[in-house]
Amino acid sequence: MATELDELIGFLSSPSPQEARKSIIEALVNLSQVPKLGEFIIQKGGIEKSMELIGGQVQILNQLLTLLIVNLTQSDLGVKRLLQEADKLEGLYVRKLVRLFSKASEGVEDYYEHVASILVNVTQRESGRRLILDPKKGLLKQILPHSDSTSLVRRKGVISTVRNCCFEAENELASILSVSQYLWPALLLPLAGKQIFRKEDTSKMPLELANPLSHERESEGESCIRIEAAEALYLIARHEGGRKALWSVNGPRILQIGYEDEEDHEVMEAYERLGSLLVNEGIVHES
């Protein structure tokens, strides 16, 4: 088996007709679902080869390659290789993926949507979280706007990635809050329910929240997304600076209204945990 896999990976680098390449990558995607085989592929340079090929002209290959990398980054070893830790070029692969993810246009087939899932895997590691949060690299700013994509894969991936990053809130609160303009819409809109907010509430919000909340909209249907958004907010609200920032955009009012319409028990629990944190910790606040 080993030698066949070797050959397969070898074929990736050598020039082959597109159909052959497609079949090879498909095979690797399937095989990589088995952890032991995934590790083997990583050790034979699967991540590096994929990153070499990705971004090419043939879009279907790009899609398959993202799927392959998703599988390979299920393991810590895969994430380490993708992050290029201790390499002079540390972070370059991830930045390339985020760039491809952001550029993809709506309406056309979404070949890079699974990058969102790759980012979820990457942020399982602290170094991955720090890379995404680094204000100088601006990755979080590029990722967050996709939280309201029509693609479920994108939406889920973005929220999970942000939630993972919020585990660094203790040391990286400033990095998280520095993207407030995109952060609050991403985390609060899924929890805002369907109701149209009144002027007395939206007047206390920045435009990026006030606008959508003043109009009719689709609420977030996936309960897991709503739960993860609440969890991310919880991690931020554990710190006084985070709570203050949340209050300054009238966040608790949004949660209050959104909670009224919530019917899923698990999600309600998430609202309640967040709510009691905000009430108990409290800050000097003008209501």
């Binding site: 203790e170 400033a174 809050l177 407030s180 303009q181 006084e240 203050k244 955009v249 003008e286």
Partner: protein
């Protein structure tokens, strides 16, 4: 007379030897006389110290005494140098004295005092220890050693405190620069009692912020404006429903709804990283440069040639966002100008007639 005979020449006649011995004795008694003369001069007081040194020096030059006695000469000369404040000379003499006779405890004592005066703390302690080895019960030496060790501790503590202050200021300076904040010359030190920005436990930046009211030349000082606070939140505080209008605002123009905030753009130049560090540490008006600091943005410390304009501050923005604007250079701390949409002064101000 056999004056010019080499001392170790083979054929010294008994007569020659007697001559040599006599000479030797003469020189030795001369030296003793000089030493005693020197001691007398010292007793006579400061005016005669130079003469005392002269005597001791001549006595030493005789080279007619043994090591122990020459050591005493050096130690005595060291003492006079100490009295005159010639600490370097005193130390040299003391060291000479010790080399000639390590049991010369007085020399150790005087040497230690000289070394202390010169700031050579470790040498001072060494000399004390040397002396105490010879005379463990010597009170003077023990006392001196204790004083020196205390001084060493105080000095080390002061160094450590300064190092820690510098390190903290460096972290603060880095964070300020990372946030994209451009700091220029601090122009408002008196109005703000030299207040400085600071970091909280979550490493968020807090700034003291000055609000100026050009219409009335009044001012307000916000002691703590966290970088992620919005201007709206602070305006709510200052112009809240239960806050009275300022006394100078007879027409009640300065209300929550009517106030607008502005900053002046491009009011350069920017401080270099070294100057920023100096500003954060020392709190002086024109910061001195701290050397050995990497200056990545050196070219940005050129005087700003761009137009100064009044830029409005959207009140729902955070301080962080407004400070990060490339055209915003803060005069040490953030300063914003408060105007009222309801006053005729508003248009005058913006059209540059102020």
């Amino acid at each position: 007379m056999a004056l010019w005979l080499e001392p170790d020449s083979e054929n010294i006649t008994p007569e020659a030897q007697t001559d040599l011995d006599a000479l030797s004795a003469l020189r030795e008694s001369a030296a003793i006389e000089l030493k005693e003369k020197g001691n007398e001069y010292v007793k006579l007081g400061k005016k005669y110290y130079k003469d005392a040194i002269d005597c001791y020096s001549r006595a030493i030059q005789q080279k007619s005494m043994d090591a122990v006695n020459t050591s005493i000469l050096h130690a005595n000369r060291a003492q006079v140098h100490l009295l005159l404040g010639n600490n370097r000379h005193a130390l040299d003499d003391a060291q000479q004295a010790i080399t000639l006779n390590k049991a010369n405890v007085k020399a150790c004592f005087r040497g230690a005092k000289a070394a202390l005066a010169l700031g050579s703390i470790s040498e001072a302690i060494e000399l004390c220890s040397l002396g105490l080895k010879e005379e463990p019960e010597n009170m003077e030496l023990s006392k001196l050693k204790a004083i020196i060790e205390n001084k060493a501790k105080e000095s080390a503590a002061a160094d450590a405190e300064r190092a820690s202050k510098v390190a903290k200021a460096q972290v603060l300076a880095s964070i300020i620069l990372d946030r994209g904040v451009s700091v220029g010359n601090p122009d408002y030190e008196e109005n703000t009692a030299h207040r400085r920005p600071w970091l909280d436990d979550s490493k968020l930046l807090h700034w003291p912020v000055l609000l100026l009211y050009p219409e009335s030349m009044a001012s307000d000082f916000i002691e703590d404006f966290c970088e992620f606070d919005t201007f709206a939140a602070h305006l709510d505080n200052i112009f809240g429903p239960d806050v009275a209008s300022p006394a100078w605002d007879s027409k009640c123009n300065y209300t929550r709804e009517k106030v607008r905030l502005f900053y002046k753009s491009n009011k350069g130049p920017k401080l270099s990283k070294g100057q920023l560090l100096g500003y954060l540490l020392e709190g002086k008006s024109l910061p001195t440069e701290i050397k050995d600091v990497e200056d990545i943005n050196d070219n940005d410390s050129q005087p700003y040639k761009y137009l100064h304009e009044w830029k409005i501050v959207p009140e729902k923005s955070s301080l962080h966002d407004i400070l990060a604007r490339k055209d915003h250079i803060i005069p040490g701390i953030p300063v914003f100008y408060v105007l009222s949409k309801g006053s005729s002064f508003y248009d005058d101000f913006l059209s540059g007639h102020w």
